[in-house]
């Protein structure tokens, strides 16, 4: 056994983050740790990597009991970790970034090692390129190369695919399989069932800090059986009925906007339409102009040229958010805390941000209707909160998201724009939110959903567009959208056909043609 954990327990004030966890990893095994947000996966990895110390329990490394007091010591043992959030200096080159963390003095020798590792594991990256010119996938390769340079016997990867396109994920898996074949054990943390079933040899499932199951061959399981272990229940299956879309609600026509800051993205000729009773999904790797597009649609950025954005045929390109809301456009932003809500205000006060006209018209605040509205949202969307007086920041991520989505759905919007509807939300709440969004669609509203999770978009959308580097692809119907095709489009490679989206919003790009031209 490469690594064994026995009865590891870690207490934080008020919560047992890890409760008697045991797990063992063989040499050359790809071992998944599956669990929803807050199940204790990260705490466990931090214990193995020496970032925190367990309160009790034993850890065996190659059969010998060890205490890992610091990441430094973990690396000394041969444990490496790639974190979800990269720690690279943007202005330095690849080799400089890697060299910084090593005791090796010679930079050229490090560069040679990077090339060598890159070739043997499919992690090619030019050592002399500055990091800011690299794509997200390439940056992740740098992180992995950096971890591999210490010649680890165990590599820990924390949710590594959340920033990757489907093609890049395939490539990462290839690399990991080769590493495992060379004898390196891999701990793969994820909540994505498909990935675990394709990649991993073993799987340990955590729920609320406890091990709820060991699965010997994840590939033999179904998503339903794995998620039963992870959640204690199967998630409700979404009913997605075909529906004939109605009149055009939102029309974006040749929207171009210069980026406002150095790390932003300029929008270039963005055009699409959303009709009543349909969900249009916007796929894409984060940082490709999603934020800029959303700001222009919500009215936070009002620089768009006249007629670039129309709601029911009316030009709203320069309209402030409040006027757009009066016309029926509601928006759920990506950041729940600090943008969709004021953290230190109560839930009832937070209704004022977007619902003031409906609950408290006039210049004076009347508290009673606010409380009533908050109470009804809490009840209708099953938000776990003590009451309308609870501060927004006291709610868990999933519950606050339910509240925010509920607040906007309750306004009966004619167009609802949602960014990352279930980002960082536990699986149960996510399923509920998706169900509510589909319910809104079935009642005849138009929805625009921007998400980085392709699975989610495929579940929710009637049609999809892809955003890449500030441009938006033609629309494609959900039944024609394969992961491979969307993945290609995410790199900006889609067939150029002008006016395809403008002529008819139901006209779908023929799949075959798209493949040929891409």
């Amino acid at each position: 056994m490469r690594l064994e954990l026995h009865d590891v327990t870690k207490l934080y004030p008020g919560v047992r983050a890890n409760d008697g966890i045991s797990l063992s990893v063989k040499a050359g095994e790809i071992h998944a740790v599956l669990g929803e947000n807050g199940a204790g996966k990260s705490t466990l990895m931090k214990i193995i990597y020496g970032v925190t110390q367990p309160d009790s329990g034993r850890m065996l490394w190659n059969g010998r009991e060890v205490r890992v007091a610091s990441p430094e010591q973990a690396r000394g043992l041969g444990i490496a970790m790639v974190f979800q959030h990269f720690s690279l200096f943007e202005t330095l080159t690849v080799v400089e970034n890697v060299w910084l963390g090593l005791s090796e003095k010679s930079k050229p020798r490090v560069a040679a090692r990077i090339r060598e590792l890159g070739q043997s594991y499919g992690l090619e990256v030019d050592p002399d390129r500055p990091v800011h010119t690299l794509s997200v996938g390439e940056r992740q390769r740098v992180e992995i190369v950096r971890a591999l340079l210490t010649d680890p016997k165990l590599l820990i990867l924390d949710e590594p695919t959340s920033v990757l396109t489907p093609q890049a994920i395939e490539r990462l898996f290839e690399t990991l399989r080769r590493l495992a074949a060379d004898g390196c054990s891999i701990l793969y943390i994820s909540h994505k069932l498909d990935e675990i079933r394709t990649l991993c040899d073993q799987c340990t499932v955590l729920r609320a800090g406890k091990v709820t199951g060991h699965v010997a061959r994840p590939a033999a399981e179904t998503n339903a059986s794995l998620s039963r272990l992870m959640l204690g229940a199967e998630p409700p299956i979404l009913e997605h009925h075909e529906r004939q879309p109605g009149e055009v609600v939102l029309e974006v026509n040749g929207l171009s906007l210069e980026k406002q800051d150095e790390f932003g993205v300029s929008l270039r000729g963005v055009s699409f339409r959303v009709a009543a009773g349909e969900v249009l999904g916007v796929a894409g790797v984060s940082g490709n102009g999603q934020g800029e597009l959303l700001a222009a649609l919500s009215g936070e950025d009002r620089r768009a040229t006249p007629n670039a954005i129309k709601l029911f045929g009316r030009d709203i390109a320069g309209a402030p958010p409040a006027r757009r809301r009066r016309l029926g456009l509601h928006y759920v932003p990506e950041e729940r805390l600090g943008r969709a809500t004021v953290p230190v205000h109560s839930l009832s006060e937070n209704t004022l941000l977007t619902r003031k006209d409906s609950v408290a018209p006039g210049a004076w605040l009347r508290r009673a209707p606010l409380r009533e509205l908050a109470r009804s949202i809490i009840a209708r969307f099953r938000v776990k909160a003590r009451g309308p007086g609870s501060l927004a920041r006291s709610l868990s991520g999933g519950n606050l998201q339910k509240y925010v989505v509920g607040r906007e759905i309750d306004a009966r919007p004619k167009l609802l724009i949602v960014a990352q509807p279930t980002w960082g939300v536990d699986v149960g709440a996510a399923a509920q939110i998706r169900g509510e969004l589909l319910g809104l669609r079935d009642s005849g509203s138009a929805l625009l959903v921007v998400s980085e999770e392709l699975e989610e978009l495929l579940e929710l959308s009637d049609s999809l567009v892809v955003i890449a580097n500030g441009r938006v692809s033609p629309r494609i119907a959900r039944r024609d959208a394969t992961r491979a095709l969307i993945g290609e489009w995410m790199s900006g490679l889609w067939p150029e056909q002008s006016e395809s989206t403008a002529t008819s919003n139901r006209e779908e790009t023929p799949l075959a043609q798209a493949r040929v031209e891409a």
Partner: protein
């Protein structure tokens, strides 16, 4: 190495008590200071906390100091709550005295006794205009309102110096930098005959109630608060940050200007180069000690007035230097900031720094 770590759940009770704890610290340090200066600390305490409160006359004097502090600090509270850092209330106060004087000097023997309303309005408008300069520079050129408003204080002092040395100098004033004493029609009527307290106190208390209503019961007040607490939420909701900037600056400028007008039309009765006593700066402390809440600000303005009067008394009776008031103000603000920091953060002593990854030598 010292490190500040944010506490996950700062105590709410302590956050409310923080001004009182700060006051206690201030007193302890202050007492130590008196002992070090060779004064009887008991006697010194009396100067600060007994003499200014001992009878109606003393209380009337206290109200004269507290009213302008309260007015200015109320305006600043609105500003600070919405994240607009107006540091130049002193300048807006000075312009208020000048504007008020401009109208007051027009009074003749047969002016109506309503002239004083014009005096107050002129002061209010002048303070507002001075703050508008800051708002304009911030809005147009994105200049820092902290620097601009502060620097405009020095400009205001020069304007004051010019009018009292030049056009408005009392011809029979032995060349002192001061105007004539205002006629009765241009002065605030007294509240109680025989004492200096005037209707200004009532105006200040009225403002306190209005500001409270504005902050907590109107939509406009709520929008301003959101702009300060979560600017991105304000943008999302569509609350204009420009209108927040202008509203708060104009409001706080008006309040400071009104305080200035009440000062010249009230206890002072004329404009001299000595009118500004630093109320505009002291009010910043008052606002924070009062937790940016009208009722708290009312209490802290009384406390600050005690410091002013106690400082004057210990100067005349105990022979302590004039700067004692400033020392107490500084101590109070410093203690408050320390308390607030320690309530929200805990101090950690970390022994060694985590080294960069070293690959091989660790076993």
């Amino acid at each position: 190495m010292l490190k500040l770590e944010s506490r996950p759940e700062p105590s709410r009770a302590l956050a409310l008590l923080s001004p009182l704890i700060a006051l206690a610290f201030t007193l302890v340090i202050g007492l130590g200071l008196f002992v070090a200066l060779g004064k009887d600390p008991w006697q010194a305490l009396q100067m600060f906390f007994y003499e200014p409160l001992k009878n109606t006359r003393a209380l009337a004097e206290l109200s004269i100091k507290a009213a302008p502090l309260l007015l200015i600090a109320l305006g600043l509270s609105v500003c600070f709550r919405s994240g607009v850092w107006n540091i130049g209330a002193e300048g807006q106060f000075i312009l208020g005295t000048i504007g008020a004087t401009g109208v007051a000097l027009r009074a003749t023997a047969d002016s109506s006794s309503l002239l004083v309303v014009g005096v107050l309005l002129a002061g209010t408008l002048a303070g507002m205009l001075w703050a508008a300069l800051t708002a304009l520079l911030r809005d147009r050129f994105n200049a820092s309102e902290i620097l601009v408003s502060l620097m405009l204080v020095y400009v205001a002092e020069q304007v004051l110096s010019y009018v009292v040395h030049g056009p408005w100098k009392d011809p029979n004033g032995y060349n002192f930098p001061q105007t004539i004493t205002f006629l009765a029609q241009a002065r605030m009527p007294r509240l109680i005959e025989g004492m200096r307290a005037n209707w200004g106190v009532v105006i200040a208390l009225g403002c306190m109630v209005s500001i409270w209503l504005f902050m907590h019961r109107t939509l406009a007040g709520y929008k301003l608060e959101v702009a300060g607490l979560a600017p991105r939420a304000a943008r999302y909701a569509g609350f204009s940050s420009r209108s927040a900037l202008w509203t708060t600056l104009l409001l706080s400028g008006a309040m400071a200007g009104l305080a200035g007008a009440l000062e010249v039309a009230g206890p002072v009765g004329q404009l001299t180069s000595d009118v500004p006593l630093g109320y505009g700066f002291a009010a910043i402390i008052v606002a924070f000690v009062g937790r940016l809440e009208p009722i708290g600000v009312c209490l802290s303005s009384l406390l600050m007035s005690l410091f002013y009067i106690g400082g004057e008394l210990s100067q005349s009776r105990l022979g302590l230097p004039k700067s004692i008031t400033g020392v107490f103000q500084g101590l109070l603000l410093f203690s408050l900031l320390t308390c607030d920091t320690l309530i929200n953060y805990r101090v950690r002593f970390s022994g060694r720094r985590r080294a960069l990854p070293a690959s091989a030598e660790v076993q």
